[in-house]
């Protein structure tokens, strides 16, 4: 699905990713852990091709195609989608219209399909009339982002901290919906959607099982492996210890 080869990425002339390699196969879901400022969000936005994130070396291959030079809209059309952590408020565009936009419907009439989807995410019809992200609570932002992704139905799903600042009730719903997006509720052999999830405290892994975990430090993937082991190492000794332990085993390989 996604193959990142020796990627160097800059933001405003400042290097944020160095020689980064990552492969995500069809049907796989990965979590990305790491301290603040280690470059996790930059990686997601780089994969998505935001203009501010400049590739200075390496390449990004998506579904067998080199997309390094493509615009964000082109990448999205190929089947990428993202749930942002801090999306901006857009005045005058209603949440319902935004969900329709995600399906490529620009009629600006909120469709029945969207209303049905909204119910699934516990949003009322009135809520769909609100300007996108205007005065949304933390949990509402997460649910709204996931609802937009579900309308888009991408093959490759990126989620930037879908589990931060969410109360337990919302978390269960969010876990369910992410599980659906990432085909976690069907047999592994039938899964076609892939995912990359940034998570600070790995809370999301209590709700869905994932295939791989990676730890990012200083713009590099410092270690990768079995999610249970990596998460428990981090919980016990922090990122540094995890990476040291991890590198010992990786050296042995």
């Amino acid at each position: 699905m996604l193959e990142i080869r020796s990627l160097d990425l800059e933001v405003d002339g400042r290097p944020v990713l160095k020689d980064l390699n990552l492969t995500i196969k069809e049907g796989e879901s990965h979590v990305l852990l790491g301290p603040n400022g280690s470059g996790k969000t930059s990686l997601l936005l780089g994969i998505l091709g935001f203009p501010k994130y400049k590739v200075t070396g390496g390449s990004i291959i998506f579904k067998g195609e080199d997309i390094t030079g493509l615009s964000t809209a082109e990448r999205v059309k190929l089947g990428m989608g993202i749930a942002f952590q801090h999306p901006p408020v857009i005045r005058g565009i209603k949440l319902g219209e935004m969900v329709d936009l995600c399906k490529g419907d620009t009629s600006q009439q909120i469709t029945q399909e969207t209303r049905t989807l909204a119910k699934k995410l516990h949003f009322s019809d009135e809520f769909l009339e609100r300007d996108v992200n205007a005065g949304f609570s933390g949990g509402e932002i997460k649910r709204s982002e996931i609802m937009q992704l579900m309308a888009q139905d991408p093959d490759f799903v990126m989620l930037d901290e879908p589990d931060s600042g969410v109360d337990i009730e919302n978390m269960e719903l969010i876990g369910d919906m992410i599980g659906e997006l990432l085909h976690r509720r069907i047999r592994p052999s039938k899964r076609t959607a892939s995912g990359l999830i940034i998570t600070h405290l790995a809370t999301i892994t209590n709700y869905i099982e994932v295939d791989w975990a990676h730890v990012m430090l200083n713009g590099m993937i410092a270690c990768s492996g079995n999610p249970n082991r990596i998460i428990s190492d981090i919980m016990k000794g922090g990122y540094g210890k995890c990476v040291r332990e991890c590198q010992k085993t990786m050296d042995r390989i």
Partner: protein, 392 residues
């Protein structure tokens, strides 16, 4: 004199003619057919469906003044002056005839205008519609309008001003005086659709009596050569007034708009909201002044501009003046460009950068219009949306 409001730079009245071809009521079907689209674009439906009445003036000829609901009066102000001797109490009462050369010209050389009135206690089921239209090149249309909502009545108006497609240059001078009586309400939604060489000078005064409500909405999304207006609203005890303007200024448009709210009655409330987009070489001045001179008055001014070009200009002038200690006045003004973050967000949902920018501008202009009856509100939103779709 405020900066940029010098009369010297304004339209030269002498350039325009007052001689207009006379249109007859029997020409109405032909005229309605010919200009149907232009009328519809400014909210005037020649069929008059879901309207409590219609007024249509083309050049200097009043072609239609039709009442569809009892207790509503619609006629030209010329006829109204003949019919009602008491009208002199309202004539030049909310606007001073000597205010400037344009009011003087309307005083001396008036060419009709509309008189709209609801009798005491009457509430219009549907809005009244009016249209002031210029079909002749180089014409000066000098209307004087009077709108009265008698005690306890409710009057909703949608009014459009426009020119025929073939007209390049013309002058529209319009004096409008509004009287909202005790416990009455007027909503007035005005849509302008001019042409790049048309000059426009509306001069309006609004008096809102005790417990009265006035809501004025102004929409102008097409180019105009030079437009300046500055309606003044006087709020008596417990009165409420709102002024909202939605402007998309493009090409070489020069627009100077604003509102002045005088809160002279205790416990009165007012708000001014404006959304201005400036593209191409447009030059927009967005003003607003709140004057609090009675106890417990409260008013807010919000003036937001969006710049789309390096050759455009937005000059925003919010002003507050309090002369009593219990006045609560506030303002919020901002001018900026389309946020890159917002564009990126929409491209992440599959829109191209151009589509994203268009959606953001449309959203910016898509202000919730408060206080209108639901059907009218939906219609006005739909019109703004359709006009915004056609931009760029």
């Amino acid at each position: 004199m405020r900066k940029g409001m010098s009369e010297d730079n304004g339209p030269d009245i002498g350039k325009y003619t007052l001689k207009a071809e006379k249109h007859d009521a029997k020409d109405l079907p032909e005229i309605e057919d010919k200009y149907k689209q232009a009328f519809l674009d400014v909210g005037y439906d020649p069929q008059g469906a879901e309207r409590s009445g219609s007024f249509l003036q083309v050049d200097h000829s009043v072609l239609c003044s039709k009442v569809m609901q009892e207790g509503v009066e619609i006629m030209s102000t010329t006829d109204a002056l003949e019919k009602y001797s008491w009208l002199s109490d309202y004539w030049w009462h909310a606007v001073a005839p000597g205010k400037d050369v344009y009011t003087q010209q309307v005083d001396r050389k008036q060419t009709h205008g509309y008189f709209l009135r609801t009798l005491p206690g009457v509430k219009t089921t549907y809005p009244l519609q009016s249209c002031l239209f210029i079909g002749q090149e180089g014409l000066s249309q000098n209307v004087h309008n009077i709108v009265i909502a008698e005690e306890g009545s409710e009057l909703h108006i949608i009014t459009g001003c426009s020119v025929a497609e073939k007209v390049r240059s013309a002058l529209h001078l319009g004096v409008s005086e509004f009287y909202v009586k005790k416990n009455a309400k007027i909503t007035f939604t005005m849509i302008h659709n001019w042409a790049p060489e048309v000059e426009v000078r509306p001069r309006s005064g609004i008096i809102v009596e005790e417990n009265g409500v006035f809501i004025g909405n102004y929409v102008c999304l097409d180019p105009v050569k030079d437009l300046q207006m500055y309606p003044v609203t006087y709020c008596k005890k417990n009165a409420r007034a709102t002024s909202q303007s939605i402007i998309y200024a493009s090409k070489d448009s020069k627009i100077d708009i604003g509102s002045k709210m005088v809160l002279s009655g205790e416990n009165s409330r007012a708000q001014i909201i404006s959304r201005v987009v400036a593209a191409d070489h447009a030059d927009v001045t967005a003003r607003g002044i709140l004057i609090g001179s009675a106890p417990n008055v409260k008013a807010h001014l919000e003036c937001i501009g969006l710049m789309l070009s390096d050759t455009a200009r937005i000059y925003s002038v919010p002003e507050l003046e309090a002369t009593v200690k219990d006045a609560e006045l506030s303002h919020e003004a901002a001018v900026g460009r389309i946020s890159e973050e917002e564009i990126a967000y929409l491209t992440a949902r599959g829109l191209s950068e151009e589509e994203a920018a268009g959606a953001i501008v449309r959203g910016f202009l898509n202000v919730d219009i408060e206080g209108l009856p639901a059907a009218l509100g939906a219609q006005v939103r739909q019109m703004i949306r359709m006009s915004a779709e056609a931009l760029e």
